[in-house]
């Protein structure tokens, strides 16, 4: 990193309060997008390894419907 944390903090506190708020929101948004992309990539990589990434959408929906019934039956068994 070319700018130290201290220098970065100095630059941020020099901003107007509204700009600081915008910056914090922007950082949060970028962090969220990076987290989402990373999780998606991890999941897709695993599915690819398992040969499931190209599964048709209709088949995925059918599997999810079956899973829904199984989980509910287990969770609410008498």
């Amino acid at each position: 990193m070319s700018v130290s944390i201290n220098e970065l903090a100095e630059s941020i506190v020099a901003l107007a309060p509204q700009e600081q708020e915008e910056l914090i929101e922007k950082v949060a948004a970028l962090n969220f997008q990076r987290g989402l992309t990373a999780l998606s990539r991890k999941y897709r990589d695993r599915l690819a390894q398992e040969g499931k990434l190209q599964q048709p959408a209709a088949e995925i929906l059918a599997e999810l419907a079956k899973l829904r019934e199984e989980i509910a039956a287990h969770d609410y068994r008498a």
Binding site: A28, A29, N31, F32, Q33, G35, L36, A38, L39, S40, K42, Y43, R44, R46, L47, L53, A57, I60, L61, L64, A65, L67, R68, E69, I71, A72, A73, D75, Y76
Partner: protein, 148 residues
Amino acid sequence: MTIEREWIVLDTNVWIFGLRQEPTRLACFQLLGRLPDFFVRVPRQILLELRANLSHEEMDDFFRLLNRHPEQREISWDKVEPALIHNYQQRGCKLGDATVAAHLEILGVKLLVSENRDFLTEISGLPFRVLSAEAFLEQLDAESSARR
């Protein structure tokens, strides 16, 4: 109430299609990218279904993602009363769908986003409405445009 201020539930298929970046359901991935723009409740049945699809590590990442906007997320591990599920079953729902419907009713959620076009279409008088990911995004965009 505007869609941005309303608590909603995303069906498991929206989470899964979104994370898979399923090419025929790209609206789901776009919707996940817009999560910071709205309020989401995740009920037990959806959590259990996600847990069955995601690895332990992926599930941890999922919770971390939800926790980035904690004031806009609610996770509920509570079971619902079997009598309420039974009520939906008596109206023609399968057990799984009845459970999801019961969760929505108990949580006071009026909107389910689902890619299952047939979700409870045969049941009248539901206490919530169902929108596809694409329709939800259209409504979200329309509200954003109207505000500008």
